[in-house]
Subunit: 339 residues, 2 copies
DNA sequence: CTGAAAGCGCTTACAG
DNA sequence: CTGAAAGCGCTTACAG
């Protein structure tokens, strides 16, 4: 499959520097145990030979690796890219590499990456899981590898999780539409595969129930993508005369699809119908009207999750916990601030 | 730093199945060498014990790993996410894991990931390099590890590269504006750090030189981000009365920043000024007017690059080559198709 | 501060 | 088709 290793070994470095292999290893891993002069002799030998330590051998001998995995549902959702950036910054400052894998919304791919990071003896795993991932995680956790869940609130007490308050996302977006004076909200509520979606839906219901005179027209769909949002609006318009004054998409993609169909039907956004999304996904932002949505605080989620992971890996006194970040609205053209 | 391995070893599996460790290894790696009945006995033992092979030990003993690295300048540019998806699909069908790392537009980070994949004896590397990355790559290539460059046209003959014809991107976007009847193009031409940007600029110049009566107002900037695009337009408007009828951003972010400032100044887009970007980056798509741009064919770039990498790793007759994909325009609201 | 030696958990010829 | 043994390239006590 691949070429074999060709370069110099650690023992070549040792020979050249006139020391033992243990000393070279100490220069690499515990320089404080080695004298200045030896260090510089070894460093010179490393440079002269172009030595590159074999990370596999190192991890095997040391019983640990310097890698942390991040497995995200879908890298084309920019939320997860924000998470990755935050996690990477913290990981690097701790001397760890962050390796990212996208599970492409597919359980089998997610499972194979979780297993991969398990096989690779990763120092830990950040996982934004799909529904029903307990099974896949069990083995990883049993192997005493730290896991932090992202954007998924788990009942499990054997790991940390970092979430945005998705119920509040639903509540805030619906409240905003109501504050804008909207009274008949077409709710593109997606499907039940994703926990964040379920929670946002609960928040939307709470906001509507609080407000007399507001009606929610719930329109579920098979997926939560652009096409599903377009279909929801298209079918509603076909079945009824225009009978709603707002669309709330439980994802940004749903909302973007809705905007496109509204515009095709010459319905002014936001003049006649407000539209708001929910998950700050810039993959949904190519539409003719810029989309209002909720900030998901991905960067902070990534940073926080990596800190928890490091704590779990290093601090015997670590206690698992659940960190909840509050969402904020991000208002743009499709549903601006109430006047 | 991390917990040590706790789970069962391959020899535990062998004991339980009543075979030697070599046979267990063969079941894992070369099942065709083992009888059906032995395979199922070993598989049962693996399941019962919850055995997970140590990938580090495996890679060390076998002299190769099943990982391919992808190091991209910036994962928040959706082009690279497309590339990753394409590469992952091909990698998985070949039994390899794709591990993604973002270099955050930082030479040091890029170097550390290239070194990491070298240390990890990755089966190969896909790299979308920043300028001046030869130095960093040299060692990797010398170690006989396959590298394929993405979106970077290298003079080096010791590796493959897959690019979109960025000169043609510049040519097509400029031609489009001219076909729209635009005659004074403010060209947000960015800086010279990135080869794709340089090439697009050359294409823009070619298109303008071909067309009599078209004037290009070149406005370079320090970066190629949203803020730089906003600044370019703001400064032009401050120095002159509105004297251009189009803005061409050498990146989508530059174009998006331009749109925002134009709108702030009540300049209609595309009524008064057309705007077009160049790199299909949905991080730039949150603006009030949807952005016309060029398709960069990221998915195909990723697929093609991974295929070349596999060929280089497996086929002794592999010859390095350069694959060029042709760009296409993606026309949206900020500069629609000519009428 | 330094060196000799054992061992990490696999894979791979090789002999049977 | 199966087993015994050597070895992959490091790290880590341990003794000096």
């Amino acid at each position: 499959m691949s070429s074999t290793t060709a370069g110099p070994r650690l023992r070549d470095v040792a020979l050249r520097a006139g020391v033992s292999t243990g000393t070279v290893s100490n220069v690499l891993n515990h320089p404080q145990k080695v004298s200045e002069s030896t260090i510089s002799r070894v460093r010179d030998a490393i440079d002269e030979l172009g030595f590159v330590r074999d990370a596999n051998a190192s991890a095997l001998a040391a019983g640990r690796s310097r890698n942390v995995g991040l497995v995200a549902i879908d890298l084309s959702n920019s939320f997860f890219v924000d998470v990755a950036r935050g996690a990477q910054q913290v990981a690097r400052s701790a001397g760890l590499n962050l390796l990212v894998a996208g599970s492409e919304d597919d359980h089998a791919i997610q499972a194979s990456y979780v297993d991969y990071f398990d096989e690779a003896r990763a120092a830990g795993l950040l996982l934004a899981p799909m529904q029903d991932s307990e099974e896949q995680l069990r083995r990883f956790v049993e192997h005493r590898r730290p896991v932090v869940l992202l954007n998924y609130d788990s009942a499990a007490t054997d790991r940390c999780c970092v979430v945005v308050d998705n119920e509040q996302v639903g509540y805030l977006t619906a409240r905003h539409l109501i504050a804008r004076g909207r009274r008949r909200i077409l709710f593109a509520s997606g499907d039940t595969r994703f926990q964040p979606v379920q929670l946002r839906r609960a928040g939307v219901h709470r906001a509507v129930e609080e407000s007399a005179g507001v009606e929610l027209i719930e329109a579920p769909s098979e997926g939560v993508d652009w096409e599903a949002g377009a279909t929801v609006v298209r079918e509603r318009l076909a079945a009824h005369p225009l009978d709603f004054d707002a669309v709330l998409g439980v994802t940004d993609l749903l909302a973007a699809g809705a905007i496109a169909v509204l515009q095709d039907n010459d319905v002014a956004v936001p003049g006649r119908v407000d539209v708001i999304g929910s998950d700050h996904n810039n993959a949904a932002w190519g539409g003719a009207v810029s989309l209002s949505t909720a900030e998901m605080r991905g960067l902070e989620i990534g940073e926080t999750a990596m800190r928890l992971l490091l704590e779990e890996a290093n601090d015997p006194a670590h206690r698992h916990r659940r960190v909840v970040l509050e969402p904020r609205l991000l208002l743009r053209a499709s549903s601006p601030a109430p006047s």
